[in-house]
Subunit: 67 residues, 6 copies
Amino acid sequence: MLSARNRLTGEVVEVQTGDVTTEVTIDVNDETVTAVITRESAEDLEIEEGMELTAVVKATDVMVRSD
Amino acid sequence: MLSARNRLTGEVVEVQTGDVTTEVTIDVNDETVTAVITRESAEDLEIEEGMELTAVVKATDVMVRSD
Amino acid sequence: MLSARNRLTGEVVEVQTGDVTTEVTIDVNDETVTAVITRESAEDLEIEEGMELTAVVKATDVMVRSD
Amino acid sequence: MLSARNRLTGEVVEVQTGDVTTEVTIDVNDETVTAVITRESAEDLEIEEGMELTAVVKATDVMVRSD
Amino acid sequence: MLSARNRLTGEVVEVQTGDVTTEVTIDVNDETVTAVITRESAEDLEIEEGMELTAVVKATDVMVRSD
Amino acid sequence: MLSARNRLTGEVVEVQTGDVTTEVTIDVNDETVTAVITRESAEDLEIEEGMELTAVVKATDVMVRSD
């Protein structure tokens, strides 16, 4: 069990592979969630479009905005 | 316009005020998103239960998990 | 499987509980690793001195220093 | 003196240079610690395999996991 | 209104575009502030040398050092 | 030498001590920079109003905003 508070599960809709980092875009209930992870992690998890993936975020990394 | 990629809008369902930090919990499409911000920010934004708030997260702070 | 690259396992040697956040100190091969997580996470994981715990860190959150 | 709580010293075992970021892997007591820093920082510190380097992490960036 | 406490406004003096991330350097009162953001964000904000830009940092991401 | 790109030196104008974390406000060329660090770090650095202190931020933790 991981301490990180936030988990949002969805389907990978785009993978953009760089030399060191990879950008992964996930569709979560019609909202887009974007993660930048290491290319090695993306390869270890065998991330590809269409697979299910959960975005995980530590609560101290979340800001809020009022409109 | 802010560079942070991720924005998730919902309703504040819980506010827990500490001495330096405040924990804000937002219901986003029946998913729970939790933010830890400074107490001063929470006061400046006049955060309270029931108001609409957007969680904002930088893409480099998002991890992913496969099951 | 989580994308975060860094995992360091050790024994909890100190838990300091605050109102919103909790500081957890882990002994990893005689090095001290300190985490600040939400108090709720600490309670959910039932963290207490003497238990084994793994510190997890995203690679983009690691700096380096040369001497 | 820097406020960041966590320092782990070891030997650089791999350097992967990208266009903007560089990934540095350090062997710390047979554990692997991976950092993603800017390429400019890597060049300023003249990071190369075999040199000693200390990984530095702020406590609020450390999560914990129980098994 | 965004909860992030720190805003530093200046002029963009350098833009280094990578495959996934872009490094933006801003001159703030003769101090240099460097941001690594996604290339997509840099394109969406149409960042280029000479434009005015504000660096934004969450307080939990700021360390301090005494000399 | 530390890899973190951003350093902003100024005078401490406010210290707010919590149970686990401490908020430190620094005046940097008439801009306010706010850091949330562990209370232990604040005690180790003997932070108090009027002393000179440098805010340190990793480039991947900096966002940008255009107006």
